[in-house]
């Protein structure tokens, strides 16, 4: 009898694996393998002319060039990206929080319809939205400049000026991210049991104290993880700079992802770009892990 049980277990295992294998193979081949392979490419001289298989191993050369060559753009690109994280993340969190708090109010009539209208941009493919923003900020026919001119201001060259373009990146990034941030925070706000507010009120807590001692501690964790995720998204911003003006003007606004992409696919330096992306991936992963850990620890303290 025990023997029979064992054979049935083995049969189950075999069926279970059989059902998983196809998805696993496709996933491993197209997702995991390229990532491992990219680490290998980072140590080769792969470039436009030899990409279909005739490149060779060159050791740490790509990494040395990236980190120590006098003309390296590594530090500039990394700095520009860090600046974008530092400016866009607080904006995204503030907008998300602000919108969530406003739309959480039960006093708003038709709040449900307004909310689903407000998150409509979420459903539009990001690259299309960015193309539209590229038009909105167009020097000649963009609505932004037309408004400025209607109100008597001079028109602004938004996308062909380094600082202006950087500002536009932030605006567009906020517009792309607010539905996600708002939804996460709204869900967190609504998951706070209403009895807690009633109980706090009975205990004599005012509006501010309820916010400080009940709302914020209870939404801290989801808010923190949303912030980590959106920071990681900012750090890896690709479509926004790439589609708006290619990280220009004159490569001054290239973020890490844009730089890596252009090095590989426009300049053909595949090995060099792979080395760059490997370093960047390490930074992102370390950053994410640290953020998650900090969030977990803080969360445990709260609870």
């Amino acid at each position: 009898m025990v023997e029979k049980e064992r054979t049935r277990g083995a049969w189950e295992s075999r069926i279970a694996f059989l059902l998983i294998i196809p998805s696993l193979i496709i996933f491993l081949f197209f997702n995991l393998y390229p990532i491992i392979y990219s680490v290998f490419l980072a140590f080769t001289n792969a470039e436009f002319t030899n990409i279909a298989g005739r490149y060779s191993f060159i050791g740490m050369e790509n990494f040395a060039k990236l980190l120590f060559h006098p003309d390296t753009r590594f530090y500039y690109v990394l700095g520009r990206t860090a600046l974008f994280v530092v400016t866009s993340v607080p904006l995204k969190v503030l907008f998300g929080l602000g919108l969530a708090v406003i739309f959480n109010s039960r006093l708003i009539k038709g709040g449900k319809i307004l909310r689903s209208l407000l998150i409509l941009p979420w459903t539009i493919p990001a690259m299309l939205s960015i193309l539209v923003w590229r038009g909105l900020f167009n020097l000649d026919f963009g609505a932004i400049n037309q408004m400025l001119q209607s109100w008597g201001f001079p028109r602004v060259n938004w996308l062909q000026d380094t600082t202006n373009a950087f500002i536009v990146y932030n605006i567009v990034e906020v517009w792309l991210a607010y539905p996600f941030m708002m939804t996460v925070i709204l869900a967190a706000l609504q998951s706070v049991p209403p009895e807690l507010y009633d109980s706090a009120r009975v205990d004599g807590a005012g509006t501010w104290q309820r916010l400080r001692y009940i709302t914020l501690p209870l939404i801290f964790r989801p808010l923190w993880f949303a912030t980590i995720l959106t920071s990681s998204a900012s750090f890896q911003a690709f479509l926004v700079p790439f589609v708006l003006n290619g990280g220009g003007p004159a490569r001054t606004n290239e973020m890490v992802m844009v730089y890596g992409y252009k090095e590989a696919f426009q300049l053909g330096n595949y090995g060099y770009a792979a080395a760059f992306m490997v370093i960047i991936s390490l930074i992102v992963t370390a950053f994410m892990l640290a953020g998650m850990k900090a969030g977990k620890m803080a969360g445990e303290e709260e609870s």
Binding site: M1, V2, K4, E5, R8
Partner: protein, 361 residues
């Protein structure tokens, strides 16, 4: 129609022995209840009969056929689940006809049989509804219908009434019993509710920690429980238990409980003397105790609490460190704190060996 026979059934989950060498038989047309607290293995036994679990040891027979190796669909059993497990995306009609469709029975016959069952259970007007639109009682009937429609050899029921409210449960109890009798299908019914077991069963199997405690018809189970567990599990309020020791003095036999001493006579005394176990537990059911005057009293106590239930009152009497529950008719005038004498007929006394828990008398 068929009997169900379990021989030395054992089922382990990892290191936990869920069912431990259980042997029991449900005769043809019999209503067998598996009764026990949660985790006693009763549901596992049912699932072994259904073929949803494979026993580690022992044999399961349905009719005269050994079915250990048969998959559920070939066992010709029908099961009613605690959650009813009505397929939410199918109408009531489709739910009831599902087992027939799986057996590729001709459509005209399916329709006829579903109609018949629906009328029998008075759910003909619900056939087009989805399970979501049914009340608890209606869903229960549909689940029954799905089991009945196949006319299986055996019904297996896993706490089918536990999701109903108290009133409906009592109603369905009687109806289910009636239905089973009319259809004459062997039924194995799992419950933790001793009242359900007592009212519905032809025979009850009491389980604890995977082990069979006693198999008997309800009245036998009540009047002669075979051990402390069964005695305590059956009956509400439960039997009163008091620890005591056996004292043999000259030719006389006494039970010393500290707070009182009982003098025993006749065959009762003889049996105890022969057995010779000194650590004992005596048990007496609340309805067998009565308040008497001092001359006929056996035990002196103090009224501690009264729980009026309408037709009767449960009175807790403090005797030493024990609370003895007494079931009294309305009209009992004693106040809390009064001293009272209690008596009982000696033949209603149960005596258990404290060490083994087994009944001696």
């Amino acid at each position: 129609m068929a009997k169900v026979l379990l021989k030395n059934l054992t089922k382990r989950f990892g290191k936990v022995v869920a069912v431990d060498g259980v042997s029991v038989e449900a005769k043809d047309r019999e209503f067998l209840v598996l009764l026990g607290p949660s985790g006693c293995g009763k549901t596992t036994i049912l699932r072994c009969i259904a073929g949803l679990e494979i026993p580690d040891e022992g044999e399961v027979y349905i009719g005269d056929r050994l079915v250990n190796d048969l998959p559920p669909k070939d066992r010709d059993v029908a099961m009613v689940f605690q959650s009813y497990a009505l397929y939410p995306h199918m109408t009531v009609y489709d739910n009831i006809s599902f087992p027939l469709r799986m057996r590729e029975i001709p459509a005209s016959e399916i329709e006829e049989r579903v109609k018949k069952v629906a009328e029998l259970l008075q759910i003909a007007h619900l056939l087009d509804r989805k399970p979501k639109q049914l009340s608890g009682g209606e869903a229960q009937r549909v689940a029954l219908g799905r089991a009945i429609v196949r006319e299986p050899k055996v019904f297996l029921m896993d706490e089918p009434l536990s999701n109903l409210d108290a009133k409906l449960r009592i109603h369905m109890r009687a109806e289910l019993k009636r239905l089973q009798r009319d259809l004459g299908i062997t039924t194995i019914y799992v419950t933790h509710d001793q009242v359900e077991a007592m009212t519905m069963a032809d025979k009850v199997a009491v389980l604890k920690d995977g082990k069979l405690q006693q198999v008997a018809p309800p009245d036998k189970l009540y009047s002669s429980p075979s051990n402390l567990f069964v005695a305590g599990f059956i009956g509400s309020p439960p039997m009163n238990f008091i620890d005591c020791s056996l004292v043999l003095k000259d030719e006389e036999v006494f039970l010393d409980a500290g707070a009182f001493v009982l003098k025993l006579e006749g065959t009762v005394a003889e049996i105890l003397r022969e057995k010779g176990a000194t650590k004992l537990v005596i048990g007496i059911r609340p309805e067998d105790v009565s308040f008497v005057n001092k001359a006929h009293g056996k035990i002196l106590g103090e009224v501690y609490m009264k729980e009026p239930l309408g037709a009767e009152t449960i009175i807790d009497v403090k005797v030493g460190e024990y609370l003895v529950k007494v079931r009294e008719r309305v009209g009992f005038k004693t106040k809390i704190g009064d001293k009272v004498w209690m008596g009982f007929p000696l033949d209603k006394l149960h005596v258990f060996d404290k060490k083994t828990g087994k009944a001696i008398i």
